[in-house]
């Protein structure tokens, strides 16, 4: 059974300036033990996707307006809040960007891990303590008994993020969502934490949805990738195939924007224009104003996802067999 299946997800928010729809027809799936990378720039809808899967939209004045989310075969749409409480933490958990805001500065970090365990699992304080130490050790926290008694401000950024990961894992979730988990960290620490994510998902057999704007991180640990632009997925599939042969013009352009060590001068390319905001999403293909390959029909016709080979999905009219007339 597929761990997480998102099918044609659309999201709507009520704001003071009217209704906005930051997500449109988003579909992907994650299997147990697998890492999927969700990559995109500001305003592409990465974090909203995470909020929808966590059932947090009602708290943000938002709602799912189309599509379905399935977690291990269970339909998650319109689930009452008391059911959600047994799912959040126990089955899905979320790790956010800044470790400092996820930790309470006035409690010892060990207490914060134990608190989560006792909330979600019916275990004694002693048992929770034992498990917390074990979990911290498995995340390679040195001297876990000592760190357990420390306060967040006494720990380095990398150790804090390990504690936040431990809190996320404390109730044995099946799916972990990590929203830009390494953006606030230094490069050498980022390298360790990213590697730790890979090790942890393999060890515990959980699925990981890794949200990031960093294509290097995606290439390093993900099995599959979905590229988002302006609230839609433009390309998704096996990470090796997508990076070796990006088909959507946005994926290709995005890869050209990343500087690499030893790259010759003038080799860096940029995408003209700006990332559109949710109120200014273009009609038709949302990438068409910045696309080098656009044709007239791209302005009106919204591309559907086309299957290429066995596993690559591309949302571009160029790959739509019924659109051969204009392409």
């Amino acid at each position: 059974m597929t761990l997480l299946q998102v099918d044609g997800l659309g999201v709507r928010f009520q704001t003071r300036e009217g209704v906005v729809e930051p997500l449109d027809d988003v579909s992907f799936a994650i299997e147990a033990g697998q890492i999927m990378g969700l990559v995109g720039e500001t305003g592409s809808g990465k974090s909203v996707t995470a909020q929808a899967i966590m059932g947090l939209l009602p708290y943000l004045n938002g709602e799912i307006c189309s599509g379905r989310i399935w977690l291990r075969g269970q339909d998650m749409r319109d689930l009452p809040e008391d059911r959600w409480r047994t799912i959040r933490g126990n089955q899905i958990s979320l790790i956010s960007q800044n470790p400092m805001t996820s930790l309470d500065p006035v409690y010892r970090v060990g207490h914060q891990i134990v608190e989560g365990m006792r909330l979600h699992l019916a275990i004694s304080a002693r048992e929770a303590h034992r498990r917390a130490i074990e979990l911290m050790a498995s995340l390679r926290i040195p001297d876990p008994e000592r760190v357990f008694q420390q306060y967040p401000h006494q720990l380095s950024g990398g150790l804090k993020q390990r504690i936040v990961i431990a809190m996320g894992l404390c109730a044995d979730p099946k799916l972990l969502i990590a929203d830009e988990p390494t953006t606030a960290l230094d490069v050498t620490v980022q390298a360790q934490i990213v590697t730790l994510f890979k090790e942890t998902t393999r060890k515990f057999g959980i699925g990981l949805l890794l949200i990031t704007h960093d294509l290097g991180v995606i290439a390093q640990i993900c099995d599959t990738v979905a590229v988002m632009y302006a609230g839609t997925i433009v390309e998704s599939g096996d990470v090796h195939s997508v990076f070796a042969r990006p088909r959507h013009p946005y994926t290709r352009a995005l890869l050209g924007c990343v500087p690499k060590l030893g790259m010759p001068e003038g080799a860096l390319s940029a995408i003209p224009g700006n990332v559109p905001s949710v109120r200014t999403f273009p009609t038709g293909c949302r990438f068409h104003p910045r696309c080098e390959e656009r044709r007239d029909c791209c302005q009106q016709a919204k591309p559907k996802m086309n299957l290429i080979g066995r596993e690559i999905w591309v949302g571009c009219l160029k790959y739509d067999s019924q659109r051969r007339d204009c392409w």
Binding site: T42, R140, D186, T188, Q192, T195, P259
Partner: protein
């Protein structure tokens, strides 16, 4: 020709205070005995992790803060000997672009006013028409339209705001610009736009850049020479574009090994055992990198190695540099 900027034994130590009486209990050596030159027309990169002193160094060079020791010479003049008025006059020639364009612009001022302010502060006499023309010219130069002058910062995107900040830095036709992480707050596609714009502007106006970043791949692409800093010290100076086999200092090696390449066929093996930069409080006489260095030997605990030039003209502050001398490197590995 003499270098444009000469930095000699520059230090900045901040006191660490404790208790209700704020007694000084230690020193943060934010920048410690740093010396280097920036040639005319050069792009010099400074790379390092948070807390390595790269932003403090930038502020010292512009003399926005007073150094604890050492000198900065700009175009032959020692900044420490200049009076306030002379320093302000010289600042026309040296400008800075900050990391976060959202906080670098006053939200209550139109773009036009933010740019016009530069000329007021420097008391440049211009007719209003000439000022308007100049501002329109600046905006076009950085890829915006003259109409953007009427906008307020909140009406612009992050990339557009950073273009305004660049236009402001260029307003007085400086010879030297410090770029402090100019693209760190921007999206990948916009980061590339700004990088390309900065390259083009440097060629057009024959400027010298000091480019500060934590992204070693970006620094390697953008700069001619790279300074690697660790805890307030320069640990290595290397020419850019050498690729992955270049580093002499183990810290540079670690930085390069930590950069993930956007290619799943080039995955790296990373140790997940935590190792992080200490803070620069109360450093001992040991090498700054000793506690994290995989090749550390007893000598490294006894003395901080000086920054020395090797036979190939490369600078590294390491008792046992990598690469250059194979024998020493092997010994260091065996002695682990």
């Amino acid at each position: 020709m003499s270098p444009l900027v000469q930095v000699r034994h520059l230090c900045k130590h901040f006191p660490v205070t404790a208790g209700v009486l704020h007694r000084t209990v230690g020193l943060v050596r934010a920048v410690d005995d740093v010396s280097f030159d920036i040639g005319r027309g050069e792009i010099l990169g400074i790379v390092g992790e948070s807390g390595c002193g790269k932003s403090t160094l930038a502020r010292l060079i512009l003399r926005l803060i007073e150094p604890s020791g050492g000198q900065v010479h700009f175009d032959g003049q020692e900044l420490g000997l200049l009076g306030k008025g002379e320093l302000r006059h010289l600042r026309r020639k040296m400008q800075m672009v900050y990391q976060d364009p959202h906080s670098a612009l006053d939200p209550r001022n139109t773009i036009h006013r933010s740019l016009a302010e530069m000329y007021q502060i420097q008391r440049v006499k211009m007719t209003p028409e000439a000022l308007n023309d100049r501002i329109a010219e600046l905006l076009v130069m950085v890829g915006l339209k003259p109409e953007h002058g009427l906008a307020y910062p909140h009406q612009l995107s992050g990339g557009q705001k950073q273009r305004v900040v660049i236009a402001r830095a260029l307003a007085l036709s400086p010879a030297f610009v410090i770029l402090d992480e100019p693209t760190a707050a921007l999206d990948v596609s916009v980061q590339a736009q700004i990088t390309i714009l900065l390259q083009k502007l440097r060629q057009t106006f024959d400027m010298t850049y000091l480019f500060i970043s934590h992204d070693i791949a970006l620094v390697d692409y953008f700069c001619h020479r790279i300074i690697v800093m660790y805890l307030g010290r320069i640990v290595e100076i290397l020419p850019a574009g050498l690729g992955l086999d270049a580093p002499r200092h183990p810290y540079t090696r670690l930085l390069m090994d930590s950069v993930f390449i956007a290619d799943p066929e080039k995955r790296k093996t990373i140790s997940v055992v935590p190792g992080e930069a200490r803070n620069a409080i109360g450093l001992t006489k040991a090498c700054v990198f000793e506690s994290r260095c995989p090749y550390a030997r007893p000598l490294c605990r006894q003395a901080m190695p000086p920054l020395v030039e090797d036979a190939e003209g490369r600078f590294a502050a390491c008792h046992f540099p990598l690469g250059g001398n194979g024998e020493e490197q092997r010994m260091a590995r065996a002695g682990r």
